[in-house]
C-alpha cells in the first residue's frame, strides 16, 4: 500500500491535508513549512507546483503562484530541495500540478525525479482519467506513486466509480462547483452531495476540499468523509511571511 493511502487508513478519521504553493512566500522556507506542518500533526502535505495559468484556482492560489514563480522556483530546484530534506520528513507529500508541467518536463523524468525526492503521490486536475489509465497508471505504480482524482457535485455515478477505481491515494471531493478559495458556510445542498457519495460506499477514502477554511468547515466535512483539505486559507496565513507560530496557531484553529 502506498504511503498516502496508508497514512489515511492509519488515521482513520479527521484526516487533515494541508496545501501550500511551493515557493510562496519564499523558496527558502519550503522545508520549514513542511516541517512545521509535520510537527503540528498534519497528516498529508499537498505541495502545489506554481503554474502560470492555474485554471481551477481562485485569487489566493493565483497570487501565491505568481509570487513563487517570481521567486524563481522551478521543478529542478524543487526536486533538489525535496531530495535533500526527505529523510527529515515522515509525512507523505503529494504534488499538485497541471498536466502541462509534467508533459514539458518529460513525463518519465518527472516521475523519476519525484520518486527520488520522496514524493508519494500526485493530483493533476486536468489529466483525463482515461489517458491516465492507458498511458500513466503503470508508470505510477512502478514508482509507488499514488494518484488522486477529483469528483465534483456534477460528476455522475459511473464517473465517480471510475475515479474511485483509479485513485489509489484518495478520492478528492471538490466540495462545490467552484474554484478554490471560497469562504462561505457549508450548505445543505453540499451536505446532500457529501451524503450521496458516502452512500456509494467507495473503495477509496474520501477527502473534501475547496472552501474548507476554518474549524467549522473542517469538522463538517470530516463528518461526511475521511477528512478534508485546506489550501487557500493556509496560503493567506503565510502571505506576510512564514513563522512556526503562525503555522501552529493556524493548524490549531482548524483542528480546534
Amino acid at each position: 500500500m502506498n504511503k498516502v493511502r496508508k497514512a489515511i487508513e492509519e488515521k482513520g478519521s479527521e484526516v487533515l491535508n494541508v496545501y501550500f504553493t511551493a515557493g510562496h512566500p519564499t523558496v527558502d522556507k519550503i522545508v520549514d513549512i513542511m516541517q512545521s506542518l509535520q510537527e503540528n500533526g498534519v497528516d498529508l502535505i499537498e505541495l502545489g507546483l506554481p503554474y502560470s495559468d492555474p485554471l481551477a484556482d481562485g485569487l489566493a492560489i493565483q497570487k501565491s503562484s505568481e509570487i513563487a514563480l517570481k521567486n524563481g522556483l522551478n521543478l529542478n530546484i524543487l526536486f533538489e530541495i525535496l531530495k535533500q530534506s526527505k529523510n527529515d520528513l515522515a509525512t507523505p507529500v503529494i504534488m499538485m500540478g497541471y498536466y502541462n508541467q509534467m508533459l514539458q518536463y518529460g513525463d518519465e523524468k518527472f516521475l523519476d525525479k519525484a520518486a527520488a525526492a520522496g514524493v508519494s503521490g500526485f493530483i493533476i486536475p486536468d489529466l483525463p482519467m482515461n489517458q491516465y489509465e492507458s498511458q500513466y497508471l503503470d508508470k505510477f505504480k512502478e514508482r509507488d506513486l499514488s494518484m488522486s482524482f477529483l469528483i465534483s457535485p456534477m460528476t455522475e455515478g459511473d464517473r465517480i466509480r471510475q475515479a474511485d477505481r483509479l485513485s489509489d491515494g484518495f478520492v478528492y471531493m471538490v466540495s462545490q462547483s467552484s474554484i478554490t478559495g471560497k469562504t462561505g458556510e457549508i450548505s445543505d445542498q453540499q451536505i446532500q452531495y457529501f451524503n450521496r457519495v458516502k452512500d456509494m460506499e467507495l473503495e477509496s477514502p474520501r477527502l473534501i476540499g475547496f472552501g474548507i477554511h476554518d474549524h467549522n468547515s473542517f469538522k463538517t466535512a470530516s463528518a461526511y468523509a475521511d477528512g478534508a483539505i485546506v489550501g487557500s486559507a493556509f496560503i493567506r496565513t503565510l502571505e506576510n511571511g512564514f513563522s512556526k507560530e503562525k503555522v501552529s496557531s493556524f493548524i490549531q484553529s482548524i483542528r480546534g
Partner: protein, 394 residues
Amino acid sequence: MKYRNPDEQGFYGEFGGAYIPEMLYANVENLRRVYQDILDDPTFLKQYHDLLRDYVGRPSPLYYAKNLSTKYNTNIYLKREDLNHTGAHKINNTIGQILIAQRLGKKRIIAETGAGQHGVATATVCALMGLDCVVYMGAVDIERQAPNVARMKMMGATVVPAESGSKTLKDATNEAIRDWINNAEDTHYIIGSAIGPHPYPDMVTKLQAVVSEEIAKQIFEKTGKDYPDYVVACVGGGSNAAGAFYYFLEDERVKLILAEAAGKGIDSGHSAATSILGKKGVIHGCMTLLMQDEFGQIEEPYSLSAGLDYPGIGPMHAHLITTKRAKVYAATDDEAMQAVYELSKIEGIIPALETAHALAIIPRIGAKPDDNVVISLSGRGDKDLTTFMNYIPN
C-alpha cells in the same frame, strides 16, 4: 477526410482533446453529446441561416481587389467579413452558439475577448435573445480597444477586466473558464475562437464554415474555376482561418496560408508567432502548439493587435501546420501597419489590425499572375483607429 473532423475524443492527429478540471467535465461533456445533433438539426439550421442572412447580412461579398491585384501581379479577392454586422467574422460563431445555448436551457452567457470583436458579437446576440452577458477582457485590451468596450456596454453586457498575467487574451480566457467553473449550471461559455476543449474547436469551425462555403460558390461565379489557388487568413486562435479553409481542407489544389503575428520580430522576445515559437502542450483545455518555457509555464505573447496575441493556436491548425497542409508566415507590427495604410489608400478599405497581418504577407506567398488568391478580410479597422493614429512608422 484527413483534416476536417476530429476523432471521437476531439483529436486532430496528435492535437486537441479535452484537458479540463473535473468541475468543467459535466458541461463540456454535455455539449459534446449534443452539439453535432444540433448542428445537423433542420430547425437549428433554418434559424441560424435566417439570422445570418437577415441580421448579419450574409452572404458577405467576395470582392476582386483590382488595385491590390495590379500591385502584386496576381488576382486578389477579399472575402468581406468586415461588412458583417458588428464588423468581423466573429458573429457567425456567436449566432450559432447563442442558439445552442438556448437549446441547452442556459440563462447566462460568458465570453472572453481580445480585440473586443468577439465580445461585441457576443453582447449583440445576448441583446438579441435577452440573455445576461458577461465579457472578460484583459485590462490592457480594455485600454487599446475602447470603442468596442463602449459598444458592449451599450448592448447591456458587463465587461470585467482580467488583471492577471499580461492582462490580455490568455488571461481573459482564464477568467472566463473560472467563471464557468463557478456557474456551471446556468451558464454557457461562448468561446470566440477555434480553441479550448473538445468540442469547441470543431463546433466553432463548423459555425464559421459558412465563409468557405460561400467562397467556393463565389469564386466559381467570378473565375469559372471552382477553387481558389490560395486562401490566406490571419490566425490568433484560428476561427477566421478555420472558416475560410473548411471547404478546401481536403482539396490539395488549394494552398492554405496562415499569417501569425510576429510582433516586434520573431526573435525579439515580443512576439505571438505561436507555430514558430511554440511547442506541443496544453492550454485552455486542449493539446496544441503553444509558447511556453522548459517547465511548461505559458509565455506572455506580444502583438500590437489585441486579437492575435494569443500564446496558443487551434488544434486543427496545429495539425494542418505540422502535417504541412497549411503554411505559416509571420508579419511584424510594422508590416501589418503598412498593410493597413496600403489597403486604405489603394482600395478604400480600412482593415482591422489583425486582418492586416494576412495582407502583409501577400508578396511572400509565391502567387503567380494567373493565380486566384482569396484573403479572409476578417474585420474592419474602426476599433483600431486610435492605434492607427498613434502609430509612428519606422
